[in-house]
Amino acid sequence: MHDTSDIETFDATPVNSARMRQPLYAARRKIFPKRTSGQFRRFKWLVMLITLGIYYITPWLRWDRGPYAPDQGVLIDLANRRFYFFPIEIWPQEFYFIAGLLIMAGFGLFLLTSTVGRAWCGYACPQTIWVDLFLVIERAIEGDRNARIRLDGAPWSVGKLTKRLSKHAIWLAIAVATGGAWVFYFADAPALLIDLVTGQAATVAYMTIAVLTATTYIFGGLLREQVCTYMCPWPRIQAAMLDENSLTVTYNDWRGEPRSRGSKKAAAAGEVVGDCVDCNACVAVCPMGIDIREGQQLECITCALCIDACDDVMDRLGRDQGLISYTTLAEYQSNMALATAGGTTAIDPKNIRGADGTLSDKIVTFNWKKLLRPRTLIYFAAWSLVGLALLFALLTRDRLQVNVLADRNPQYVVLSDGSVRNGYTVKLLNMIPEPRTLTVTLEGLPGAEMNVVGLDLPPARSFAVEADPDQLTTLKIFVRQPREEVQGQTQHFTFTVADEAGSDSDRYDATFDAPETRR
């Protein structure tokens, strides 16, 4: 066994753990997360790169939609009430696609949480990403944990002021860039950038940037872990999402306890010692200010940085990695039972180790088959079902629609020759960014003919009209039926609309009203 004397012991206090937490009105106690390296840290850098990349680059991607629509890949055009996502264009009445995506996001979060715990919190949540980013700046300027603690305690000096000012200035710059990127999703990005710089953009753009700058700076720079602990509802909901087969970041005390700083000396003295050398590395790196060795707790966002820190220490000691690891509650309990001989004794490392000191093969480790259980399969099925339904809706949706509103006042007009006339407001929705020639036809209602207000056409049962690209065309149509053809007070008929050049068509069932008795 390696000597433990070369393992630095950190004077770190888990200020936010339930044991240490102060009353709510007390001022926040600062935490100074130490830098880590390891597989989870590398994964987090990668996730940060990808998510920030998507966020900042997306509005600048171009997508050619022809001369009648904007060429921005992703654009939420609030003024014209259109949403563009690459080849997909959504009109306001198709907002159910967004609702469907939100439902998918919900099921996806359930699925993720029931399998790998709070992975969203630890890796992908914007709060985590931006706090990580802000910590990079803080470390670059003020140094790592010990330097920052010293600086924080030092009296004010030019050096301290310079460091603090430059740190906050860079934070604010990042915050402005965050809010600045957001508004590009709502207007043509290159044009808006010029307007923003020259001060000609809409007030709402500057207001949005100001608000998002403030929230980014305050949440990411100043509040940090308090956002997760006090403001976010998700830690409260997660309890319902986790079960005994969900992976969570776990301190395997069946292996680590009894912890001992001078384990070699203690072992020599014949004391029982576990793998934990109580170096506090896991506490020092924790961005939430807790001690994972106190078990699963509300504050833990499962960022897994303590796993990296502990694995590093175990490597240097020549012990097995995984004293802190992603473990399910079921595995943990099984191993705990092994270490305590079914709960009859205190934790005894001898129970889990062979004679040569290697870990026993009775220790249960994670089996990927655990991911497939009824709960996760149901979440996955629900998620897929919504996704397939959305896909089906997307592939079969109409790009040509007709809506008809019958005149209510008057419902009908009797003309001098005794024929009956009804008025209709007909709305043609040409939902593609190309002009189209549409044919409107009457189906049913024998003998009836249409007149279109504003179009100089003879009365007919069918007429062609030019529909503007990506626009609603509104027509006022009078339908007139000779008196001898009128059958009853209410007749049902249909307006059909067809695109002559393509295959799109739509129909609307309308009614034709006539007076009760005609004299």
Partner: protein, 289 residues
């Protein structure tokens, strides 16, 4: 107040009040709460200086920015006035035919006319311009005095049988109660009812007699074929539209002692431009010629 009392359990000072042994802890306010409170106070002070704040007897302090919600709405109304100035000027200077020929002007005038119609015309003609017995339906294609947009404008501008306007359209059908025998009136009504298809009970002799009576007494105004005369405002008796009813009894009543509606002239009340807008609107209802 008694001397300070410290709660044994929490170590926090209490307010000193006690209810049945229950004391209230005197915890300090949370800092964020205090900061927010101070900010709102500062905000209120600044606001009072910049904006109208203190009520006086008949007015209020104006504030340094001189903001006024009334001035704001005045500015918005003025801007709207400016925005439609071109249309208003065009409608003032152009004839109704010219307005009708211009798509944008037509739509603007019809919208303005619809608004005027709802204020001034619906009382008689109905909210859908559908009329009622005695008041013509403006949606149909039957016009006593002509259905071109200019004829409609003239009718609106000067009214029908409107004594105050010398240019008003005027015609009156004489009461035939003193001219024809009661039986003759029944006969001519039976004849006229044949156009409406309501003369089922009349004998063919009566109808034939009525036809002769019509030729002698009515054709002068209503025409030999009873199709009316727009110059005189004499209604077409052969069409399906009957302002006072189409049964023989209703026709007889109108022959004995005719009722005549009166429409005021609107030029003096609304001005020429509003009358043009109304004419364009009525013409757009579907019956315009």
């Amino acid at each position: 107040m008694s001397e300070k009392h410290i709660d044994d359990y929490s170590g926090v000072e209490t307010t000193g009040h006690e209810w049945d042994g229950i004391r209230e802890l005197d915890n300090p306010m949370p800092r964020w709460w205090l900061i927010t409170w101070y900010v709102t106070i500062a905000w209120a002070l600044v606001y009072m200086v910049l904006y109208p704040a203190w009520p006086l007897v008949t007015t209020a302090t104006t504030g340094l920015l001189g903001y006024s919600s009334r001035a704001e709405i005045r500015a918005e109304l003025d801007a709207a006035e400016v925005a439609r100035a071109d249309y208003v000027a065009a409608i003032d200077s152009l004839s109704v035919e010219e307005i009708l020929a211009d798509d944008q002007l037509r739509i603007f005038a019809a919208s303005a006319g619809a608004a005027s119609f709802r204020i001034n015309c619906v009382q008689c003609h109905g909210s859908g311009a559908q009329g009622s017995p005695g008041y013509p339906n403006l949606n149909d294609d039957d016009w006593l005095w002509g259905g071109t947009v200019e004829a409609i404008r003239t009718a609106i501008a000067h009214g029908i049988r409107f004594a105050d306007d010398p240019d008003t359209r005027y015609s009156e059908m004489p009461g035939f109660a003193g001219i024809l025998e009661s039986r003759e009136i029944t006969q001519v009504s039976a004849f006229v009812a044949t156009f409406a298809g309501t003369a089922d009970t009349a004998s063919s002799e009566d109808i034939a007699a009525g036809k002769e009576i019509f030729a002698l007494n009515c054709a002068a105004c209503h025409g030999d074929d009873a199709s009316g005369n727009r110059d005189l405002g004499a209604p077409d008796l052969t069409d399906a539209i009957w302002i006072y009813g189409s049964t023989p009894a209703e026709i007889a009543a109108q022959t004995r002692a005719p009722r005549h509606g009166v429409m005021p002239g609107w030029n003096d009340r609304l001005g020429e431009s509003a009358v043009k807008e109304l004419a364009v609107y009525v013409h757009s209802l579907g019956g315009g010629e």
